[in-house]
């Protein structure tokens, strides 16, 4: 059975905490909603956190 936690109105669940999920989470908070960012790994970041530089500007990816 689910642990009783304080439920929030106006909440969205985002499944996956890679660059897409993180960006969506940031935008949803800016638009005034509570976000549950659900990630299966121990940390968010996804594949982008593994990249060194990004195309085509070779900016740091972290």
């Amino acid at each position: 059975m689910g642990k009783a936690i304080k439920q929030r109105e106006g909440a969205v669940m985002i499944l996956g905490g890679g660059i897409a999920g993180i960006q969506a989470a940031l935008d949803m908070t800016e638009l005034g909603y509570y976000v549950y960012l659900v990630e299966k790994a121990p940390a968010v970041g996804g594949v982008m956190a593994q990249l060194d530089k990004t195309f085509p500007t070779n900016d740091c990816s972290l």
Partner: protein, 942 residues
């Protein structure tokens, strides 16, 4: 944020879902863990490090990387000796903060939510697919992911590239494209859309490491169709990276080399030896795609990606469930980020009644008052940036040097100043050491200044009591081969910043209210979608269309590649816009003038013709630029001279008509007509798909029609690759041509003759087809004038430039202005819709908030010193300085909210009466003096 969690079930309906989660134990109490890393040092068991693609060894108890969020270690149960064999537990007494807890159990949790955004990313290509390239059999065959970790300075080999077989530095490397993509052998018919870009990036990075290394990229088509992506390919070719159009059959070990067998277009089989082979592996659907589909009941497409439709690209088959990122189809970072913003606007529409009910706004501690009478206490933090800085610059030396300066009461180094634990440490230090000025020497303020300023605010300091020194870009990167000089320069820069810091003052934050209305320029699909999305959020907009009716390019399109008819969608969209009470449509209209700033713009719109011409003024808070583009008409290949030469758009119109000969028996199509280096220096992204769409239509009408496509690279990226395959199955012949051997089209009376070199048969061909169709590319509409009026930068190709290519893809450099559609870059309708939704999401943010914060770095006039000459007023490009009468004298005054802090006024004031917040004369002079002052008195480290 819920990590280590799996979705078990989802029930309910839009607005009222319940999600059941299973949260796996970390075995470490997240609140207690300080991320000190002692546990990893003591853990005796080896564990292959997934973060480094298994190329290095870590321990079962570890953290993936220093900047990981949450910054908490975890135990991987699969290899922990205690969890597996009930032994060990060495870590438990080692942990000083008693954070390790083996009694943690999986926890189930129910979430009540109104909407769901699916962004599970992508999966990896199965290893069986890689076997024919000797992956797993020979250590010097690596995937591009592994290679990415190998080249990374913070990776397992500190950026040194070595062959695994014998440790030598590879002198000859091969990239094999389309591994696991465009490959029916593994049922992945689609193109992964990103591999060409990352391979070019990795090849360029390799050349930076070792300019002598020989690199060959084996490819079928180079698909650098994104905005300004072709330029990177040209850069790669210019520095000697070779591109060979060939299909690689296999890779076999050969001495200590690897032998590639490949066949080229003209049917020859060739061999080549390389030291290292990198497999450009594609993106699979995520591993848990099927389970997500079962739980959420969404439909998948035939490749197990999320199924969506052309005109609703982010909507899954279930209401209230939205998709974003690579799960919707393989895509790169900017497009994922754009989709996420678009998804946010859709989710927000589902939830709009609940807006603001569940959020908590962040609160900062009261700001510490810092006055001139207070003792100046400067803290200096020198960041190693992993080894990005410290491998060149002697960071301890730089820190110690700063420590000797006056007013510096504390100095230290950080491995990563931006990591969460370092941030906490900096906050603590500010309080403990009673610091009132902070200098951080690290990477670029462009990316990290806001983060550190936030840290100051959290610690109760005004965010302007901060100076950032860029010793990465300006020292360790540019002087990578001169470590001593780089260190000296770092010291100079830090010394200058410290001198300046002693004079910096807190600057007050200001807020101004926002007019909750948008101005949307352009009534095509981008503008209309943006207006409707904003209306869904509850915001009014004025939609300005220069022609007499809204609809834009949509009106010219008949059907989509996926087979949908465009007409119905266009009608539905235009009707919705016209009927909406939130959207004020002004046609035959242009923007005549705009003034103001984010939240408070005022624009004059000229509309109507002749006697009906009128001017209206609108106040609005944001601007969405969706001015679109149109088909380019190059003066090439007899276009406009022969009736038998048409563009793809003209052909589309023809095919949708009823003329009997609309799909003639023999057609030659020429791709990139005028694009990629002729009139237009870029790829227009849509032409290949447009050609496929017309080809399939022709074949539908007249299966006998013989079609030859002359191309440079076929760029049917993503799932459009299916259409390319379909066209080939239907007998269409595709022949590539080289830039220096372009086809020639000549008019012979009423006939038209095409001469070209057939690179497959290796012979010159001359033919007189019934029709020649040109893929001509897209040019933007009127960006030049608008760029002057709105002060928006454009790219060399005339498209509007976004604020940040990856992280802010729809925002303009000017606050409060957003870009979408063809005005940003050529793109298909599906991507335009997403971008318009994303622009609406970003535009809605200040409107939702209701106020904007003005950057405190603005100019200010010392009115006592002002002589009222008015030079500043005439020079200010933003109209941000006004004259006011004080007594009998005229004095200048800054309108802070309009000021962009460019400094023109301050630099021209003859009496030095104007100073810039954060850049006063006193501060700059002390900074310059510090540059020449290398001798300092000795000080003891605190």
């Amino acid at each position: 944020m819920v990590t280590n969690a799996d979705l078990l079930a989802l029930e309910g309906k839009p607005g009222n879902f319940t999600a059941k989660l299973n949260i796996r134990p970390r075995y470490i109490d997240a609140d207690a863990c300080t991320a000190c890393g002692l546990c990893t040092q003591y853990c005796p068991k080896h564990h292959s490090d997934p973060y480094n693609e298994g190329l290095s060894i870590t321990r079962p108890i570890h953290i993936d990387y220093a900047q990981a969020v949450p910054a908490t270690y975890y135990i991987d149960p699969s290899s922990c000796m205690h969890i597996q064999h009930n032994t060990c537990q060495i870590c438990v007494p080692v942990c000083q903060s008693h954070a390790i807890n083996f009694n943690q159990k999986p926890e189930s949790r129910d979430l009540k939510i109104g909407a769901v955004i699916l962004s599970p990313g992508f999966g990896k290509i199965a290893e069986e697919t890689l076997e024919k390239f000797s992956y797993g059999k020979h250590p010097d065959v690596v995937t591009a992911y592994e290679y990415e970790r190998m080249t990374t300075a913070s990776g397992p080999f500190l950026g040194e590239i070595k062959c695994f077989s014998d440790g030598r530095h590879p002198k000859s490397m091969a990239f094999i494209q389309c591994v696991g993509s465009r490959d029916l052998g593994c049922d992945n018919g689609y193109c992964s859309s990103v591999c060409c870009m990352y391979s070019i990036k990795e090849a360029l990075v390799t050349k930076e490491h070792d300019p002598e290394v020989d690199i060959t990229v084996y490819y079928m088509d180079i698909r650098t169709q994104g905005k300004d992506f072709d330029a990177a390919r040209e850069r790669a070719e210019a520095i000697g990276i070779k591109f060979v159009r060939a299909k690689v059959a296999d890779v076999t070990p050969w001495d200590n080399h690897l032998k590639l067998t490949y066949s080229t277009l003209d049917g020859q089989h060739k061999f080549d030896a390389h030291d290292m082979v990198i497999l450009s592996v594609g993106l699979e659907s995520p591993k848990d795609a099927k389970s997500i589909s079962n739980i959420t009941k969404i439909d998948l497409n035939k490749y197990d990606f999320c199924k969506t439709e052309t005109f609703t690209p982010l909507q899954t088959s279930q209401d209230g469930i939205i998709v974003a990122g690579a799960f919707q189809g393989p895509k790169d970072i900017p497009e994922s980020a754009t989709q996420s913003s678009g998804a946010a606007v859709l989710a927000s529409t589902v939830l709009k009644k609940e807006r603001g009910k569940g959020t908590i706004s962040k609160e900062y501690p009261a700001e510490l008052a810092v006055t001139d009478d207070d003792e100046v206490r400067i803290g200096v933090f020198v960041c190693h940036c992993g080894i990005n800085i410290s491998s060149v610059v002697d960071c301890p030396d730089v820190a110690e040097d700063a420590g000797k300066m006056d007013n510096v009461t504390y100095y230290t180094e950080n491995l990563y100043s931006c990591s969460q634990d370092a941030q906490e440490q900096i906050k603590k230090t500010i309080k403990d050491q009673k610091l009132n000025r902070v200098v951080i020497a690290a990477c670029s303020p462009r990316t990290h200044e806001p983060l550190f300023q936030e840290t100051l605010k959290d610690a109760g300091l005004n965010r302007n009591l901060f100076e950032m020194v860029n010793i990465r870009d300006q020292c360790s990167w540019v002087h990578a081969n001169e470590p001593e000089e780089a260190t000296d320069k770092s010291k100079d820069l830090v010394r200058m910043a410290v001198s300046k810091a002693a004079h910096i003052q807190p600057l007050p934050e200001q807020t101004v209210p926002v007019t909750p209305k948008a101005l949307i320029l352009g009534g095509g699909v981008a503008g209309m979608t943006a207006a409707l999305s904003l209306a869904d959020q509850g915001f009014e907009s004025v939609l300005v269309e220069k022609s007499s009716a809204i609809g834009g390019n949509l009106k010219k399109l008949k059907n989509t590649l996926a087979g949908d008819t465009v007409g119905g969608f266009t009608k539905q969209l235009t009707t919705k816009v016209k009927k909406s009470s939130m959207i004020d449509v002004v046609t035959d209209a242009t923007l005549a003038q705009t003034s103001g700033f984010i939240g408070n713009f005022s624009s004059v719109i000229e509309s109507g013709k002749g006697k009906r011409k009128k001017e209206q003024t609108f106040d609005h808070g944001v601007i969405v630029v969706a001015t679109g583009g149109h088909e380019h008409r190059p003066d090439l290949y007899q276009l406009g001279k022969s009736k038998k030469v048409v563009t793809q758009q003209e052909l589309e119109t023809k095919l949708a008509g009823r003329a009997k000969n609309r799909a003639p028996n023999s057609i030659v199509m020429i791709q990139c007509a005028g694009s990629r280096g002729e009139d237009l220096n870029y790829c227009s992204k849509v032409c290949c798909n447009h050609a496929m769409k017309n080809i399939l239509k022709i074949k539908e009408i007249n299966p006998e029609s013989q079609i030859i496509v002359l191309y440079r690279d076929i760029r049917t990226y993503g799932f459009a690759e299916d259409a390319y395959l379909e066209a080939r199955k239907k007998g269409v012949v595709f022949i590539p041509y080289e830039v220096d051997r372009k086809p020639v089209v000549t008019s012979k009376g009423t006939k038209v003759q095409v001469d070209f070199f057939d690179s497959i048969m290796q012979e010159e061909v001359s033919m007189t087809p019934d029709l020649v169709t040109l893929s001509v590319g897209i040019v933007p509409d009127g960006t030049e004038e608008l760029s002057k009026m709105l002060k928006l930068p454009v790219t060399a190709n005339g498209f509007f430039l976004e604020a940040h290519v990856k992280l802010r893809p729809v925002e303009a450099a000017v606050d409060g202005i957003y870009i979408c559609g063809l005005a940003h870059a050529p793109k298909p309708v599906e991507e335009t819709i997403v971008q318009a939704q994303a622009a609406a999401a970003k535009a809605a943010m200040p409107l939702v908030k209701g106020f904007v914060t003005v950057d405190p770095i603005v100019s200010s006039v010392q009115q006592d010193d002002c002589i009222g000459c008015g030079i500043c007023v005439s020079l200010c490009p933003y109209g941000a300085i006004q004259m006011e009468k004080i007594g009998k004298k005229r004095k200048a005054k800054t309108v802070s909210a309009s000021c962009k802090a460019c400094g023109i006024c301050a630099s021209h004031c003859p009496t030095f009466a104007i100073s810039m917040g954060g850049f006063t004369n006193e501060q700059l002079v002390s900074q310059i003096e510090a540059f020449g002052n290398k001798t300092r008195k000795e000080k003891v480290k605190v």
